[in-house]
Symmetry: C2
Subunit: 449 residues, 2 copies
């Protein structure tokens, strides 16, 4: 067997089949591990998790927590000698308390399933990553996932009230509380959110649910160029507006969607914004949005009904799949202050010119969060310099390397440049507090000394 007999004999569900291991070792980054993990453990209880992590800590075996494997920064990549700890079968929605606006869930619950269950009570789970149909809440928490409406409602961290985690020494820790407010002790909940499985394995979460908005209004706008489109985001802010969604697509992306869907979006303008408002007064606020957009847009359309709005959102969701049809891609995820978006899109256009690499850019523009999608073409130019240039421009413009996908394995080389040596040093020491044996997803999220 694998040398894990002392562990596996005590667990109900696991596999050491090479094909199973090979699949469980990958995420959606396209990165390739150095070999096969030792085993994949399918946790069926918190106890399975405690047992696995305790064994790993005692024997110095790395553990890679895994939700749906939909991450794009190689955070769930599992190499030689590791145990994949798959949480996807812990998928019960334990409780929804509509009158308190909270839900208690296991980590393997699919994001969209939680949102659907909340909707039955007139509520919603605000964070809506484009991967909601297949990502897990545990993975969302571990990456602090964002989504389309987080410009108004915050990222995953803003919706997490309490966590149950198994720390690297196999202890069960409960953080936070089920109340909407509270300051007893340091905020370990926020510390764990976004920690990419390196501080603890999330085995349970209490999350906030918000009332479904009374109404939602949607507009799309086309602009003569990318700069004008992203400058309109600042225009919305100046007008005192608070849309729930502001999404940007560049011309390359519009063309890719048209090629995939047979549409004509790319003929309507050279850049695109999708804007939604919601809540009481959504229509009145949308009227103000439209007025602000019309200052520079060449075409503004509002969608009267929910079905038309859904089609527009679906278009946005088609962006990545449409680009992925063209070949292997690197999904980048930089953030800049929204007032520097225009400089960012100009710099990306320059990178494309200088390197010959094809880049498609869409963005959660309201947050300044750009997803430049870098096409890796068989016979095209090497992409390394283009990717480095993207990271450099993010930091140059006062931004960050990753808005929602995480550092994983792929952005580690740039960490020190963003965090500074003192910050990195403190982060490493915090890692050692939670995971003294260094077995929780080692090498991910932060670099070792």
């Amino acid at each position: 067997m694998t040398g894990l007999d002392g562990l596996l004999a005590h667990l109900p569900s696991w596999s050491t089949e090479p094909e199973v291991l090979a699949r469980a070792a990958l995420d959606r980054s396209g990165a390739v591990p150095d070999g096969l993990p030792l085993a994949v453990v399918h946790a069926t209880s918190v106890d399975d998790v405690v047992r696995t992590v305790s064994y790993a800590a005692e024997h110095g075996v790395p553990v890679v927590p895994r939700g749906a494997g939909s991450g794009v920064s190689a955070g769930a990549l599992a190499g030689t000698g590791t145990i994949v700890l798959d949480l996807s079968r812990l998928d019960r929605i334990v409780e929804i308390r509509p009158d308190d606006g909270i839900a208690v869930v296991e980590p393997g619950v699919i994001t969209a399933d939680l949102d659907r269950a909340a909707a039955e009570h007139g509520l919603r789970y605000a964070p809506d990553p484009a991967s909601a149909a297949f990502s897990t809440i545990g993975g969302n928490i571990a990456t602090n996932a964002g989504g389309l409406r987080c410009v108004k409602y915050g990222v995953t961290r803003d919706s997490v009230l309490a966590l149950d985690v198994v720390t690297g020494d196999g202890r069960l820790l409960r953080t936070g509380r089920t109340t909407l407010k509270g300051v007893t002790g340091y905020d370990l909940t926020s510390l764990l959110v976004g920690s990419e499985g390196t501080l603890g394995v999330v085995v349970g979460a209490t999350v906030k649910l918000l009332p479904l908005p009374r109404s939602t209004a949607t507009a799309t706008a086309y602009f003569p160029d990318a700069r004008t489109a992203v400058e309109a985001v600042t225009g919305l802010r100046r007008a005192g507006l608070r849309p729930s969604t502001i999404e940007f697509l560049d011309h390359a992306t519009l063309v890719a969607i048209d090629d995939a869907q047979g549409g004509d979006l790319s003929t309507r303008g050279r850049a695109f914004l999708l804007v939604q408002t919601d809540g009481y007064g959504a229509e009145e606020e949308m009227a103000a949005v439209v007025e602000a957009l019309k200052a520079t847009a060449t075409l503004v359309e509002t969608s009267g009904d929910a079905a038309a709005a859904d089609r527009l959102l679906a278009t946005r969701r088609q962006a990545l799949p449409s680009i992925e049809r063209l070949g292997r891609v690197l999904i980048e995820d930089i953030v800049v202050p929204t007032t520097r978006l225009a400089d960012a899109v100009a710099a990306i256009e320059a990178i494309v010119r200088d390197t010959g690499v094809r880049i498609f850019t869409f963005a959660h523009a309201g947050d300044g969060n750009l997803h430049p999608i870098v096409l890796v073409e068989e016979d095209g130019p090497p992409v390394g310099d283009a990717v480095d240039a993207l990271f450099a421009l993010a930091l140059d413009l006062g931004g960050t390397l990753t808005g929602e996908h995480g550092v994983g394995l792929l952005k580690r080389d740039w960490l020190a440049a963003e965090l500074g040596e003192t910050g990195l040093d403190l982060q490493r020491r915090i890692k050692a507090v939670f995971d003294p044996a260094g077995v929780l997803n080692p090498g991910k999220a932060i670099t070792e000394r």
Copy 2:
């Protein structure tokens, strides 16, 4: 002198005058320190802070960071042998970037001054503690202050993007970022917010500013009893409403305000709610609020204009001062799930009956955050049991010991009951990471082993 000559000789502004020390040693909790601090250092630069903390770490001298001293949990209480590090003179608003919706401030900026400066750009700083007129942003950050509108806009943590702090070993650390999103590294910013000066001294902050709401609508409602009033909070949630403020006053508090102000609030009902809605659609949402309140309220009034609304808010702000006229008070700060508010007010009424202690309760009811104000009467019954009963009921009802005032010195005995041994152990280790010499506000916020 004081034995601090090696430090004070290098600092521009400090005092060892007994009267100055005596004043700098107190906060608004009413707690009394065991003697005088060694010195108060008035920081005039980040360098002064680095120098003071470095000296303290080297010589093992406790440092008590201090903003305005308006805290009510003895967090800024400074006893024998300590250095008070007063940040109130670092009070520059360094920069407001309206188009990015951020402000960069020094820690000594008064909360209301920042909000006023933001208003000049059509923006606001969302967290509005009732102490905004005199508390500092640094103190707000260190306690994770809440306020009236945090039920919709979040607490201080939700508005802090980046921090400059001096850690316990005298290192300058920058956390977070100036973008609205980002997941590079662990969230040290959230960890530092609410840490009550025990992990680092805040010397700078980048905070979020939101657009001023387009309009605001206000209603007050009177109810036959406290239970009915707090149950109306659940009614608002069931109706899918998202008010920006939901404040509760009990009958004892209404009487105290009337006695202080010469009004007749207490004749209108036995319990009171103040509700505000804001943003686009505020009036339409308020109409729905009024309809929901009318189901159980005996009287509902809406205030047509801003001046009337301001008067209603002023009434709410008079609650604490009106009670304080009656004698020394202990300001408690428990939180329960909003659906347990009715049980909480009933339990508080029982505590009053059982102990004979006078308690006035007002609440940020939308968050479940109750402020039972315990009157300490010269010839009245001892209050210790009543206070313990309040903490016990908070935990019994699935709540927390403190919603926004912090643990300070006063709630330390209850910490383990809420956090559990594993949680407390991890928190102590985190403290040791940031403050290896244990000189930053020792004994506050978390208990030593």
